[in-house]
Structures are given as C-alpha cells and as structure tokens.
C-alpha cells in the first residue's frame, strides 16, 4: 500500500530545514574561516583580551543591576493589577522595539551638559560618554526588558495561594517572599539573568554611539572589519560566538529542569 504523505507535513519539513540552514550556515562558515594560528594569536592579543573582558564585565554588571532593580518590579507586575498597568508593560518593552543607534543617541543626549540631567552629572564629576559606566547604563537599558519579562512570568507561575497559606500560618510578607516565592522563582531568575546578559553582550549600535573607546568586543570586531577587512575581524568574532554559545548552553541546561508546582 502506498504511504500517504500529508502535503502540509512536507511543507513543514521544508521550512524546518530552511530555517536551520539559514541559521547554521553563516555561523559554521564563521567558525571555520579563520586558521587555528589566527585564533590562538587573537587569544593572546591584549586588545582583544581587554575587549572581551570589558564585554563580559559590563554585561554582567547590567544583568546584576537588572536583577536588583527588576526583581521587585517584576513581582509587582505579576501580583498586582492597577490603573495603567498595560501602559507600564508597554513601556518596559520599548527598549526592544527602539532601533539601537537611536537608544545610544538618546542616552548621549541626556548625559551631556546641554541637558539638565547631564549638567547635574557633570557638576558631580560623573562622566558617562566614553566610560565603562556609560556602557553599563546602555546595556542595562537594552537588557532590562528581557529580565523583567522572564522573571514576571516566573512569579506568575507561582500560585498566589501558596503565599496566602504562608501568610495565614504567621509569616510576614518579607518572610513569605524569601521562604516561598524566591526559592520557587529561582530558576526563572537565573534564566532572566542569562537572557539579559546575552542581550547585553551582543549590543553594538547603542554602545558605539555612547562609547567608541573603551571598546567592547562587538565594537572591536566592527572596527577591525572596517579598518582591516574580513580576515582580521573573524578571529575575534569566533571568540565572541564561543562566549555567547557558552551562555546559551548554560541557559538551556538550567531551564530544562522543570519545577512541578
């Protein structure tokens, strides 16, 4: 008997393969392009080490800030309804839809002396253009929505009745948060942290406007590409891809283990 091939299934398989190839071919080509010597030479290059180190540090700081400021906010969004909540949630998503150079230009505009905020910062001796602090601010801006949305979903998945029972047994709000809510949300907090981190480490358009020096890895890759060509930018690109992949793998491993509530 002839087997029946569902035409929709065929289309699905074709699109599946196309998408996978679309993603994998450029990445594989990138990973295989530079020679082994070029990669080891790049690992030893102090400029490259500095750039990748700076990227890791600034992205980590951005994720940390997102964790500290974003966690209470995410909890509020998960548990409370209030007038204008939809608008607030829309605002949180704004950094995702605004083009990256626009973000950089906007931040540059407010940290200069022409703006009251920038004038205040300058008078305090705080400089943000071309500084590590400036980069961290930009990265926090672009990474925060990823953290908040992930953690908000994590909190929402915890039934509020668990917190109610805890309160009825005598635990204060604070006690409930640390004994019940946080342990159950722990996994999504880690996932949110990593998502924010990964987003920050790949940011280019906003960073390059606010700070060309000191150079993060993506800025260095772009500078090497435009100044010297493909050959000299590929090794750094490979190293950055490897760092990003490690984050990605860590993310998948942690989020795979399910919490049965």
């Amino acid at each position: 008997m002839k087997r029946y091939y569902d035409p929709f299934m065929m289309i699905s398989i074709i699109s599946c393969v196309s998408v996978l190839l679309f993603i994998l071919i450029p990445l594989i080509q990138m990973l295989l392009a530079p020679s082994w010597e070029m990669i080891t030479e790049s690992i030893r290059d102090p400029d490259i080490q500095r750039a990748i180190g700076l990227s890791l540090y600034t992205s980590g700081m951005a994720a940390l800030i997102a964790f500290i400021i974003g966690t209470p906010f995410a909890y509020l969004l998960a548990r409370k309804t209030f007038f204008g909540k939809r608008v607030v949630e829309g605002i949180i998503d704004l950094p995702i839809v605004i083009p990256h150079p626009v973000i950089g230009i906007a931040i540059l505009g407010i940290v200069g002396k022409q703006h009251w905020l920038g004038a205040f910062l300058h008078s305090m001796g705080v400089r943000l253009m071309g500084t590590i602090s400036g980069i961290v601010i930009v990265l926090t801006f672009v990474g925060m929505p990823f953290y908040i949305n992930t953690v908000k979903n994590g909190f929402e998945a915890i039934p509020v009745r668990l917190e109610h029972v805890s309160r009825s047994l005598g635990a204060s709000f604070r006690s409930t948060f640390f004994r019940i809510t946080l342990p159950l949300a722990f996994r999504s907090i880690i996932v949110g942290f990593i998502m924010c981190f990964a987003r920050a480490i790949s940011e280019f358009g906003a960073v390059v406007v606010v700070a060309y020096h000191p150079m993060t890895a993506p800025v260095l890759i772009y500078e090497r590409f435009t100044a010297y060509g493909l050959k000299y930018s590929q090794p750094i690109a490979v190293l950055l891809i490897l760092v990003s992949l490690m984050l990605f793998v860590a993310l998948r491993l942690i989020s795979k283990k399910d919490m049965n509530i």
């Binding site: 004038a119 020096h213 000191p214």
Partner: protein
C-alpha cells in the same frame, strides 16, 4: 488581422514613448560615492542638485574617515564608483594603482578648534591661549581616530607644529596626556554631536565643517593650521605614526597642507554616470561653487600633478584640470 494591427500600433507607441523619456534624462540608475566625513554637507547639496537634473538617478553616498573608506574598497571589497578623500595621499597610497589610475585634487581646507557657547572657558579662548586651555585638567577635548581619518592625524600634526611654532617644549606630550582615549571617535563629524550635546568642550575639525554646522571656532596661525600649501616644508616637520594594512603594522604620515583628492574606481559599475557627476563637480559654477559657498576653498581649476596623469583622464574631464604639483 485587426488584433495584429492593434498590437503593432501599441508597440510603436511604446517605443516612441521610451525614446521620449530617454532624451529627457540621459542618466538613470545609481551612483555610489564614498567620501570623507567633512564633505558630507557639500556633497549632500550636490546630490540634491544633480538628482534634480536627472530624476531617474539615485546617488548613494557613504561617508567616513577617508582612510577607512579607502580600505573598504581595497581590503573589504565594497563596491563604489567614486572615492573622495580629505587627504589625496590616501588615494595615492591605498587605491592607486590596483583600484584607481588617477587622482584629481579639487579642494583645500584648514584645521580649526571648534567649540560651543557652553564649552568650558568659551568666553576666554583665543588664538594665543588655546593650548593652555586644552592642557587644563577637566577640559574635555578630542579628535578623530588617526588610523581611520585624515582629520585625526592632521589634528596631531597641528599639535606637533604648535609645539615647534610656539617654542613650548613638551607641549605635544602634555596635550596628549590630557586627552584620554575615550575622546577619540572614528569619524571627525561625530565629534560635532558630542560638542552639541555638551559631552565635549573642544574638538578639532575642518574650517568648512565648523562653518557648515555653525560652530564657534578658533582660527590658528597658518604655520600650524595645515591650510597654506606654501608652508608645506614647515608642515613636513610633523610626523604621525598610523596603522597600516594589518593590525600592529604602522607607517609614518608626514605633514602637508590639507588637499582633497578624488578618483574614479576601476571597474566602477556606473562609469558613465560617474564621469558626468565629476564633470559637474569640477564645474566652477557647479560643484566647486557649492564648496566655496560652504566655506571650503576649492581649486579653480582642479589639479593633477603630472601630464602623464592628465592623459589618463576621461575625455570629458580633461578640460577641467590643469597640471600643477
């Protein structure tokens, strides 16, 4: 039979129609121009004017540090029809002979120190005390990347010449010590937005750019502003090391007056359009007039250094240049 007659009639009408539109606009399609950042404003005006004469034409410009733009053509392999550089030497070194065969010098410029009314010490700065103010701690001043932009290494040359001219020993090192790396940007025009937002107090730019963006500026003595070609031998005292074809390799650039060069790239995809545009650019009432009105002194007429080079030019352009070194 009747159907066939109608079809033939339609075809004739179409052909005559095409003929008519063809004679109204000879040039159509695209034209890709890479140019120095400092030419952005005048080239935008030329683009507008030229496109209005040929509505079917779309001019695509890409601006950046001239060194970087030239490398994009020679190393990265990007496609362009015309390359206009703030330093004609960039074309000589990076594009001739593999990507271009001639180089026309069409304009000059000089370096000035730009600032805004909100810059620190804005009310005090002048031609004699500028280097003292730039040495003051807390004053934020910068220039473009010498490795990517001629304005960058020219800024450094100005500082070296200042040390020699004002006879202040160690001035160059002192000034550089007060200019941290974060105040360097790949393209000199980026410095303008930093000035305007108050993120920077002073920036080194071309006079034409300062005028075009309505910035305040300090004009310097001819001995140090790289604007007078008669002082070329004095300028040659300034030497700046910039990066070469590979990272970590360097070569020395020697000070010379700011002379802008332009060329047609070999294998340009839109050669005829490019030559027509250059013809317009070199017209004293066309492109050169725009440059003049925007504060950038053009060479009228434009120059090539040798008659050999003049012979290599397209016919249309030969009448626009003279041989002068």
């Amino acid at each position: 039979m009747k159907q066939l007659q109608i079809i033939i009639l339609l075809v004739i009408v179409m052909l005559t129609g095409i003929d008519m539109t063809q004679s109204m606009a000879d040039l159509s399609g695209k034209l890709i121009i890479f140019h120095a950042g400092s030419l952005s404003v005048p080239f935008a005006a030329m683009e507008k004017h030229f496109e209005s004469k040929y509505p079917g034409l779309d001019i695509l410009r890409e601006a950046g540090g001239s060194t970087k733009m030239a490398r994009m053509i020679s190393e990265v392999g990007k496609t362009a029809d015309i390359m206009a550089s703030a330093d004609y030497k960039v074309i000589d070194k990076s594009l001739i002979p593999s990507h271009a065969s001639w180089n026309i010098r069409f304009a000059s410029n000089q370096l000035v120190l730009c600032y805004t009314k909100n810059s620190q010490y804005a009310s005090e700065i002048n031609q004699t005390n500028w280097y003292q103010i730039l040495s003051k701690k807390g004053v934020i001043w910068g220039h473009s990347d010498p490795n990517l932009d001629p304005c960058g290494y020219r800024s450094l040359m100005v500082l070296q010449l200042a040390e020699k001219y004002y006879k202040v020993q160690g001035l160059y090192d002192r000034l550089i010590a007060n200019r941290p790396k974060r105040n360097i940007r790949p393209k000199s025009v980026e410095l303008i937005s930093l000035l305007q937002t108050g993120n920077m107090d002073y920036a080194w730019e071309y006079l034409s750019v300062a005028i075009q963006h309505k910035l305040k500026y300090v004009k310097l003595d001819d001995h140090i502003n790289l604007g007078n070609y008669q002082l070329d031998s004095y300028y040659s005292h300034a030497k700046v090391s910039v990066s070469g074809k590979k990272p970590k390799s360097t070569f020395l650039r020697v000070g010379k007056s700011c002379t802008y060069g332009i060329t047609l790239i070999k294998n340009a995809p839109h050669k005829e359009t490019a030559v027509n545009f250059l013809n317009y650019l070199f017209d004293p009432d066309g492109g050169l007039a725009i440059l003049k009105n925007m504060g950038q002194p053009p060479f009228i007429p434009c120059r090539v250094p040798t008659s050999t080079m003049k012979d290599k030019l397209p016919e249309l352009l030969k009448k626009r240049v003279v041989v002068k070194n």
